[in-house]
Symmetry: C2
Subunit: 162 residues, 2 copies
DNA sequence: AGCTCTTGCTTGGTAATTCCAAGGTAGCAA
DNA sequence: TTGCTACCTTGGAATTACCAAGCAAGAGCT
């Protein structure tokens, strides 16, 4: 598993910003057009360039986004060779990439709630041990679910003035 | 509270896509540059144009994003008047907007984990009833926390053929 | 060897989006 | 009437995204 650091990503991507806000930092890699949809496809088991292409992303952007996602440690290039075929590379989720799932789930739940299609959710999240549906929630340190309306944003140790 | 529907948003925003994927639909409004950072500021209690400007968003984009967010029902325009001042409008989170918090929390937690600054998290999430920290987790229908590594993506009732 | 096919990208030109600096407007106070 | 402030517009340059076409490397076929 690659060691991914903020400075490392900034240096490699030549991004000038140095935001103290982790949302802003996350969005620098995940907030570009198509990035999260590519990660979504990776969660669906897609690994190859041609498979990712099916979602409609232009090929030049796909190449560029795959590079960024590999750079950020979300995807890893893995060589493979099918019998009688040439060696190729595929893109697989790393543990870092697997931890993006809550972001996808949060967007998914919000969209299903407030931008419904009338056909029901296209994707659901399940516990693979028993196939029962799960959903995102805020929990306290004891693992008890907390009413989201009671949850608020507070300044942490890394906050700057203002 | 405004009634926000997918078709309503699509019609109002003249967006041609009609994705079955709720992630893609959410990203049409929340995935534009600055949108989520503006919502983040709203959670920090910012309400006015000049306050939002401080995060560095160009004014023309800010005006445009505020309009989109109001259109999507995430923010609401509220007239106000300070003594001896003219009447103005401010932008406040609606219940729809408050439900975007898990998206911000998910991005925040991922960024703090994998793109750390070395100064600790700039923001934390707390239960306002007792000020204890909370975090996002997948829970099953009984409210029990599920190991995220065991959670997977499945096709739901609204999924199209592949 | 030569030809074709597929996958995984580049490249070149155009369209859309974002950025930046400047200006405009409405009301209030002097 | 002349500022002043908050909230935007506007024009134009820079960046980003899109689209069609092409290219390179290896495998299979003849």
């Amino acid at each position: 598993m690659p060691s991914v650091t903020y400075d490392g990503v900034m240096k490699a991507m030549a991004i000038p910003t140095n935001s103290r806000c982790s949302i802003a930092r996350s969005l620098e890699v995940l907030g570009q057009k198509w990035s999260l949809l590519i990660v979504r496809e990776a969660f669906r088991g897609r690994t190859r360039f041609a498979e990712f292409q099916k979602i409609g992303v232009p090929t030049d952007l796909l190449a560029s986004r795959l590079e960024s996602l590999v750079e950020a440690g979300i995807l890893a290039r893995r060589p493979y060779r099918e019998p009688g075929q040439r060696a190729r590379v595929e893109y697989v989720l790393t543990p870092v990439g697997e931890d993006v799932l809550p972001v996808l789930a949060a967007l998914s739940e919000w969209g299903d709630e407030y931008l419904p299609t009338g056909h029901g959710p296209a994707t659901i999240y399940v516990d693979t041990t028993d196939d029962r549906p799960v959903h995102l929630a805020f929990v306290d340190e004891d693992g008890h679910v907390v009413d989201p309306a009671k949850v608020a944003y507070r300044r942490g140790p890394g906050a700057l003035e203002d």
